[in-house]
Symmetry: C2
Subunit: 174 residues, 2 copies
Amino acid sequence: MQSLQAKASEWSGVDSADAFAVDDTNLFQKLGLQTFVNLSTNFYNRVYDDEEEWFRSIFANSKKEDAIQNQYEFFVQRMGGPSLYSQRRGHPALIARHRPFPVTHQAAERWLHHMQQALDSTPEIDADSKVKMMNFFRHTAFFLVAGDELKNKQNQQVPCKHATSSSHQACKNF
Amino acid sequence: MQSLQAKASEWSGVDSADAFAVDDTNLFQKLGLQTFVNLSTNFYNRVYDDEEEWFRSIFANSKKEDAIQNQYEFFVQRMGGPSLYSQRRGHPALIARHRPFPVTHQAAERWLHHMQQALDSTPEIDADSKVKMMNFFRHTAFFLVAGDELKNKQNQQVPCKHATSSSHQACKNF
């Protein structure tokens, strides 16, 4: 079984060095808090107005302002700023927190479509940061698609110590 | 339903401000890479030699050197150093990656017992850093116990858009 990281790289077309180039510079220091707030506001304005009902409905039970805050606090924390997200909500636990949602290849592409547009219409973000962020988002989106597939494996799950040779292999590669 | 963070605080006795006080100073810069390698080596030497078979067996299908590297790379990344963990394995995704293991209250306490001993026998770690790290570890261990409980909810899981009033509530609080 491929690892989560290998699947994310293959499906996104972004290798892990490019995905985590967001860590080469401190993007929070470079861009500032307000830029992240603007980006997430811009992003969720598009999502909540999406003409594609199947995608818009994924967010239907969350308030837009909560979605915006959760997102920009995570981005700030992950990109070199204070740990706003964890102080309020704990570890990001990205796969587990996306568990209630159908994170398919199609949903990842739709998310990325809106994020590309949000980045392109947030002029405070320079071209180099934009490329780094988009690589990070693209790899992460498909990392979550890979994580989503774990849900379907739930019923086959056995503790590693009792694993058969095939599930043992899955256990090691997870 | 309580949030993961609220459960972690209640069960660990560590509130989120104390848990994430690891972010008040850059512990990686203060302690250096070798200290984290030493801590994780010290910790897993104890775990793999644990006289309690039930706990030792949780790790039986992982190589000790892999367990050590996964742990210190995560600690380094989370405590202000380079993103060694994500470059190699992707997002920490702490709850999902612990899914194969029985993360019970008892297992959390046993993990913490070994970590306290490992911290106490790693003299490069000063007293203040030790307190901050232990608060972080204690809160995180019980955050993972809270995450472990989600496995049992798998079969009741419904997409939020189709949620009944009670599962809708769970969905919002997750």
